[in-house]
Symmetry: C2
Subunit: 252 residues, 2 copies
């Protein structure tokens, strides 16, 4: 292991910014849980910054992973290049994988994100999709960036198992043979709606403030509603997605 | 209406910080939706900063609310005292209400928050509780502060309708006659569990990283599980709470 030069520290910090992530096709993964999942998966890791403690505890995982350069750093050094306020353990710089599958096939369940803006929401939606066995997500071009460190962190490692493709959502939605589901205030009660799990379908998740866009609404084949028992006007986009997926799986 | 002095702007900015909120017993409410809900409720508003547009659109609401001082400000002035990057419309300084009810009674459904740390999670949980008709929450003393502007924003106005009391959670949980429910990986399947809605109960929501604390676990009378169909290790605390509340209400 070698020491981290000032230039390399600067390079890592440049990856806090979207423009440089895009240019370099690299992104940051921070914290023990996420980095361990990364190392166990098939990602190309350009740099790994480890504390002495992490190095000693996880030598086996490190030695069997695909890593170009490893640096031993102090907790202070780690925090200074991390987007976390305090990062005591580990940070990886990984290569973005190629664009994923974008076409939903019969029998598959997909999420389609129509301009989800909040990084925490996007990350939580990916984590929730992973929990409910939804492994494909298509996101509109305006959706928050997957490789934003806040998104990666909120997925808690699920970005590795869920394919997320950015594409013209209209193109996909208007030509799909699958049912397209959307959540509305006046749709069919999701507690009694019987999903045909074998057919598959696409859940359209609307923007946090504006909901499902007018362009896409015409393609919604089933309007669903989450029954309300109190007085909040709406649910958070990630929460609504989770409740719908839980109801999809309720008879499984 | 009068112009905002430098001193008052400084005072408002001091309320970005917990210490000064506590000292003054005041907090900020920002953005149109939240402030309109505040003005329609019975809160004491010390200062209201409005854009010309907000003033013209909402004069009726403003004139019937309990407001000490009103200032007309430019969008730039508003943004400079707001915690939002851009606040074009309105900001209120409101008085914290007195401590709320802390003792769950038979037949009521409560949430009990065991050290929820993320302000976004706390706000989302309050909003979700409001949607599902849960109007009482008790939070451990270590839980994130309700009056953190990020929490208030994430509630989308629901902080007005949901009572949140901070108290020694142990004291309440160990003496309650109600069933105490907690989410675990190896509990009873929530899709088939039949809640007795009329009896009431307390849902204990564990810390984001550590789950339900050992001190409290002994008082959990029903261990529930949200079935998993994929590979994520866990769900976000707010997501798990929503899925449980949705299942509580599924036969209503």
């Amino acid at each position: 292991m070698i020491a981290l030069s000032k230039n390399k520290a600067k390079f890592i910090k440049s990856l806090h910014i979207k423009k440089y992530r895009k240019q370099e096709q690299l992104f940051l993964v921070e914290g023990t849980k996420s980095v361990l999942e990364l190392l166990n998966a098939n990602y190309q890791v350009i740099m790994l910054l480890v504390s002495q403690k992490f190095w000693h505890q996880h030598q086996n995982v490190i030695s069997s992973a695909n890593i170009q350069e490893i640096f031993e750093v102090s907790p202070a050094q780690l925090s200074s290049v991390s987007t976390f306020k305090q990062n005591q353990d580990v940070l990886a710089v990984a290569k973005m994988p190629d664009q994923k599958k974008i076409k939903p096939a019969a029998g598959e369940w997909w999420l389609a994100l129509d301009n989800i803006q909040d990084p925490g929401n996007l990350g939580t939606i990916i984590r929730t999709a992973d929990w409910y066995g939804i492994t494909n997500i298509i996101a509109s071009m305006e959706t928050a960036e997957l490789y934003n460190p806040k998104v990666i962190h909120a997925t808690m490692g699920s970005f590795i198992r869920v394919n997320i493709a950015y594409y013209e959502l209209n193109e996909v939605i208007k030509s799909t043979p699958l049912n397209v589901f959307g959540a509305y205030l006046d749709g069919v009660n999701i507690h009694t709606y019987e999903f045909d799990e074998a057919s598959g379908g696409i859940f359209l998740v609307g923007n946090e403030a504006k909901g499902i866009s007018a362009d896409l609404e015409q393609f919604v084949s089933v309007k669903l509603s989450i029954p309300r028992f109190g007085q909040a006007e709406s649910l958070n986009a990630g929460i609504a997605t989770a409740v719908i997926l839980d109801n999809l799986r309720k008879y499984s």
